[in-house]
Symmetry: C2
Subunit: 109 residues, 2 copies
């Protein structure tokens, strides 16, 4: 599976989530996998890309059709539990930015 999201032409929306993992691992891996699975099944989900370096700093960008789709995902009950646990336990620091993608290009193999 490619790490790259296959996206339509802009405009669409992105959620840029930067995070520093804490020293607490309990349950993190299964939760992260489950959130990708759950997000992928949401209405309006377009794709997700993620990278984390060996110091535990990571960036995940998810892509969505609309702000409404992002709001619905944020309000998802199982996702809310993960958000609260992440805030309390898995992340020392995170920043979340919601942005409208206006232009896109690349080099594809």
């Amino acid at each position: 599976m490619s790490s790259f999201a296959k996206l339509p032409a802009p405009p669409y929306y992105s959620v840029i989530f930067s995070s520093q993992r804490s020293a607490t691992d309990a349950g993190y891996g299964p939760m992260a996998d489950r959130m990708v699975e759950l997000a992928s099944a949401q209405k309006g989900f377009l794709g997700v890309e993620s990278a984390r370096d060996t110091d535990g700093f990571g960036i995940t960008v998810s892509y969505w059709e609309s702000l409404e789709a992002i709001a619905a995902w944020k309000a998802d009950a199982e996702h809310r539990v993960a958000q609260e646990t992440g805030k309390a336990r898995w992340y020392d620091h995170y920043e979340l930015r919601i942005a409208r993608v206006e232009r896109a290009y690349g080099k594809r193999p």
Copy 2:
């Protein structure tokens, strides 16, 4: 130094650069460092965050005051050489998305 960019309140602009490194290392590290240094000195630069996993997939998000600042950075002569070398040599695949950040929040230590 924190991995997190300290940014003003939105709106501002982001360049989301996702990339898969090639097997070619020659000159990559010094170039990447130099581009961060050079970008940081550009008018309208707000900050940058970056993570790359052990498989060579990475996401770098740079933040800018305006689309004009992004266009000026793209046109910078030294940056153009790096862009061309990156395309030819350092990256197997990349995607670049320009997005307007409309909302931001986080958990800060």
